[in-house]
């Protein structure tokens, strides 16, 4: 039976009069990757801070691995790994020194820093000072730091933002490896492609509220439209685009009419992206 790794119930937090997180509830199962999506200022960071014990909820509660975060934050923090959005590494220390420091702070015995450095693709650069690393290398080290204590739950905040495709893919692979190890992953991202590929479920948060929470497939089926997009040669010889919405009663007839009446050059099926669905639900984009 699948256990609940993260349980949030009626979480609420306000900065003065600004209600950042407004009575949100959700569960994340052990071993699940949950995508937490929302525009800037939607309440993602405040939620993560409450889940990781950095902020005490003003209302509601969060339990990680069955432990109340607000009353036992250190017990929870010993079992989680956090990769922050901003680079907060010790720049004048080497990659290995950064990892060893955090291993000591977590009380990890027999910590093998070179092995972890190698695992995140920084082999041969572990002794270099972090200030000499590229952005991608720093991000890999940030992810490595979150792995130091072999956490049961990982909180990853925009782990691939601004990275080249190779570095981003390397980090996605690491996330999947952690999941395979049994870790639960709470992934905050703007990258719809990433969320779609990695996450079993995604939660949309907007103005402090969770407005949708389901698998990407279910969300697409519920809110999105599948279409056929065709390029045809018009009577004057120019290329024109035709769109046919799928999954309707009249769809087969429209497709037949297209092939009978027009000269079709290309034909593609398209489905709604998570971005489209977010816009449909909230009326605004994810990157704002």
């Amino acid at each position: 039976m699948t256990q609940t790794a993260i349980a949030a119930e009626n979480l609420t937090y306000a900065y003065g009069k600004l209600l950042a997180v407004d009575d949100i509830s959700f569960d994340v199962a052990e071993g699940e990757i949950l995508g937490f999506l929302g525009p800037n200022g939607a309440g993602k960071s405040t939620t993560v801070k409450m889940l990781t014990g950095q902020l005490r909820p003003q209302w509601g509660y969060a339990r990680l691995l069955g432990i109340d975060v607000a009353s036992q934050p250190k017990k929870v923090q010993a079992q989680i790994g956090v990769c922050f959005e901003i680079n907060n590494l010790y720049e004048t220390m080497s990659g290995i020194e950064n990892l060893v420091l955090f291993a000591k702070l977590f009380g990890v015995k027999d910590f093998d820093a070179p092995a972890l450095i190698k695992r995140v693709g920084l082999d041969g650069r572990g002794e270099d000072k972090v200030e000499r690393y590229s952005k991608g290398m720093k991000q890999r080290l940030m992810v490595a730091r979150a792995f130091v204590n072999q956490p049961k739950i990982l909180f990853l905040d925009e782990p691939t933002e601004g990275l080249d495709p190779t570095s981003a893919q390397a980090i996605r692979t690491l996330i999947l490896e952690e999941q395979a190890r049994g870790a639960t992953v709470f992934l905050t991202t703007h990258d719809m492609y990433e969320a779609d590929r990695l996450c079993r479920r995604v939660a949309f948060i907007d103005q402090g509220k969770i407005v949708a929470l389901d698998t990407p497939r279910e969300l697409k089926q519920q809110y999105g439209q599948r279409i056929i997009r065709a390029e045809v040669v018009a009577a004057d010889g120019s290329l024109q685009t035709r769109e046919i919405v799928l999954d309707r009663q009249e769809t087969p007839g429209e497709i037949a009419a297209l092939f009978e009446g027009e000269r079709v050059v290309t034909l593609h099926t398209e489905e709604a992206t998570l971005e489209d669905i977010f816009i449909q639900i909230t009326g605004r984009g994810l990157v704002s």
């Binding site: 250190k74 923090q77 010993a78 907060n88 010790y90 720049e91 702070l105 977590f106 009380g107």
Partner: protein
């Protein structure tokens, strides 16, 4: 509280402190420089008074007085030579006696003496030279002063054992060493807040209490080690070592509290430096009262570092004991505790 966690934090802080080139250089060069300055300063006070004299007609009484007095005399061959000696800085002042001095003394007529003074001689010294001149006059005339003087020494009688510039400077150098470390610690903490590394530290087993214990211990012991080194090399530690070590430890704790306060107000290195320099100026003020006695009024006692510098100065210079400086140590302990507590409170608010 986990000792391993605290020691890992302190080791990291030490590494970061010395990886900041500015503070690494200032700390090492400062410490070496202060020690060099200390040894360059005179170890004894030169009490010899320099004086030029043009006296073609020297009275025997004056001749005898000059041979007995603790005055470094320069006999000039002419008034012009005397003037030149003063202008050159060979002597700070010179007396030009008239050619017919003896004849005037015999006739009991008025004698005019030229007193040449270098422009950088303080007014107090001018008065001293005038007193010497009057002494000469009494020596010529053979009439003793009809004044009887009784000396009453207030405080430790330092007659014959004047306080050397080194001894006066040592409390100032101590405060300088402490304040450089204070600025370094404040900068270190401020950088941890700004870069978000503190946030990462606090999502480990490290508690807020542990964080302050780690930072406090690192700051206090690092500052303490530096001033102990300074005191050991300059020999200050060998006057009542336990007493000096106690005062230094309390002083180090005090500046750690000040560093916490500065770090909580600063947003970056520049603002830390701005507030830090203000703190340095304030905490250095009491040492000026030692360098220039009588310069400061009693309000200087409101500055916490007064109780550190006064204790060090009195132990090193006057050899006072625990009982004599107990109140100083108690007040210093109170100031250190208050500043540390205040620093922890405001810094904790900043962290959160």
């Amino acid at each position: 509280m986990n000792i391993r966690v605290i020691s890992a934090l302190a080791a990291k802080d030490l590494k970061l402190y010395f990886s900041d080139r500015l503070f690494a250089v200032v700390t090492v060069l400062g410490l070496v420089g202060y020690i060099v300055v200390y040894f360059l300063l005179p170890a004894t006070v030169d009490e010899t008074l320099g004086l030029g004299l043009y006296a073609p007609d020297m009275p025997p009484a004056l001749e005898q007085l000059l041979s007995q007095a603790d005055v470094d005399f320069l006999r000039a061959s002419s008034l012009e030579a005397l003037r030149q000696a003063v202008l050159d800085g060979t002597v700070p002042a010179g007396f030009g006696l008239p050619d017919d001095l003896m004849a005037r003394l015999e006739r009991d007529t008025e004698i005019t003496v030229q007193l040449y003074i270098s422009p950088d001689v303080p007014q107090e010294f001018v008065e001293i030279y005038e007193v010497i001149l009057h002494e000469f006059a009494f020596a010529f005339s053979g009439q003793p002063l009809m004044i009887e003087t009784t000396e009453i020494v207030l405080g430790p009688d330092m007659a014959g054992a004047p306080i050397s510039p080194r001894e006066r400077m040592l409390p100032l150098l101590t405060v300088f060493v402490l304040m450089v470390e204070c600025l370094g610690l404040a900068s270190l903490i401020s950088a941890e807040i700004e870069t978000g590394t503190l946030q990462a530290l606090l999502i480990t087993r490290l508690t807020m209490v542990g964080l302050f214990v780690g930072k406090g211990l690192f700051g206090t012991l690092f500052a303490f080690a530096q001033v102990v080194l300074l005191m050991a090399i300059t020999g200050g530690l060998f006057h009542q070592p336990a007493l000096i070590l106690t005062a230094l430890l309390l002083g180090a704790a005090l500046v750690t509290g000040v560093a916490f306060l500065i770090a909580s107000t600063g947003r970056d290195l520049m603002s830390v430096m701005g507030w830090g320099i203000l703190a340095v100026l304030l905490l250095v003020l009491p040492t000026l009262a030692i360098l220039v006695p009588g310069l400061a009024s009693n309000w200087i006692r409101a500055i916490p570092s007064y109780y550190l510098t006064d204790t060090i100065y009195r132990v090193i210079t006057f050899g006072v004991t625990w009982g004599d400086v107990a109140s100083n140590l108690l007040i210093l302990f109170t100031f250190a505790a208050v500043f540390l507590a205040l620093g922890v409170v405001v810094l904790k608010r900043k962290f959160q």
